[in-house]
Amino acid sequence: MNVDVDAPLIERVKRGDTRAFEMLVVKYQRRIERLIGRMVRDVDLVPDIAQESFIRAYRAIPQFRGDSAFYTWLYRIAVNTAKKALMELKRDPLVSETALASRDEDDETSRVENELSDGETPESIMASKQIAGVVNAAIEALSEDLRQAIVLREIEGLSYEEIAEVMNCPIGTVRSRIFRAREAIAQRLRPMLDARAGDRW
């Protein structure tokens, strides 16, 4: 079994490729924000702390040796960043959004981004529910082969090799089934995502 599915991207980041780090951010931002959201009550602080966590991870990545999975490592950084932010808040309860970091010049922009990325507006809660509904409906509509392949990968966390064994087919077939499953779901999702994409990727 793969030790870390992120190893290829981590290698890229270590070679100075920030694009690879951006890809990791897109991959983990939702999980990291949910984690922080469970620790910090002030929802306005969640994106800030998540950002700070990713920045710290980026700075520390040369020291990341791959002894644990990247996500485990990132998770620990996020927990520590959130704890530190909570302690600072306790010390200075009046300061909220900008209590976090040593960034002066960014405050204006990040304040705007906070408003944009606030997770608690009725609209975005609605959008999230719709997205979840579309994904679940699309999964139901998949053929058995495709559904089994993507479930074994995403929910059971099996490697392609293991899935090939379970499904008794070549690894190339596993790769293509998972891809086709993702594309089938993404196709239903795209009109909705595109319509809401105020910010372009």
């Binding site: 990325s117 997205i131 979840a132 595109d194 809401r196 990727w201």
Partner: protein, 226 residues
Amino acid sequence: MLDESEDGARSLLGLSALADGELDPAATRQACSRWHGDAAARASWHAYHLIGDVLRSDDLASDTARDAGFLNALRVRLAAEPVVLAPQCVEAGAGDMEAVSDRRAARGSRWSWLGPAAVAAGFMAVASVLVVTRGNAPLEGASDSLARSSAGGSAVLTAALPVPGAASESAANAPDEPQTLVADGKLVRDARLERYFAAHSQFGGSSALGVPSGFLRAATTQAPGR
């Protein structure tokens, strides 16, 4: 047209495999370039992971505007960070320096070649002093390897010189370039330097002087020992 869409599908297949950590390094590099330049690839990368997250838990569903806003805000902060470079990875793939120089060029740093150039010149001086003062029998091996290394040093210099202007071009369409640089890299960094780096976990100072400064120090501390 058909070729184009086939190519697009193949690259998305690669992104899908990369999302699962099942892509080889060369293809990963291509996928990263694609992520940088292709909005459809970026949207697909987001969609694939969003799908995975929602499969695991409905409360991870999130809309694109929110996620893209998060990344855009982070980009502003990342741009202010020094570029990450872990030494062993630079050695393994010297060609990937192009990604760094890409960023440096983007920031308009026109003098980034000065660091390596200065260090290479300094190293040449050290090498020639050693050759002149202690150039005979007992040092044959050392001066030999130093001469080889200094040839490598100037190779690095020439490789570094054209970087600011040509960076984006080479990132886009020169898959062959890394091989030459890797060959140069081997000349510059022999096994003893690697052991030295491993022993000292050398990170080599600032990003501008990163690799070459470590290389210079290693050369000066090791050569007399031979």
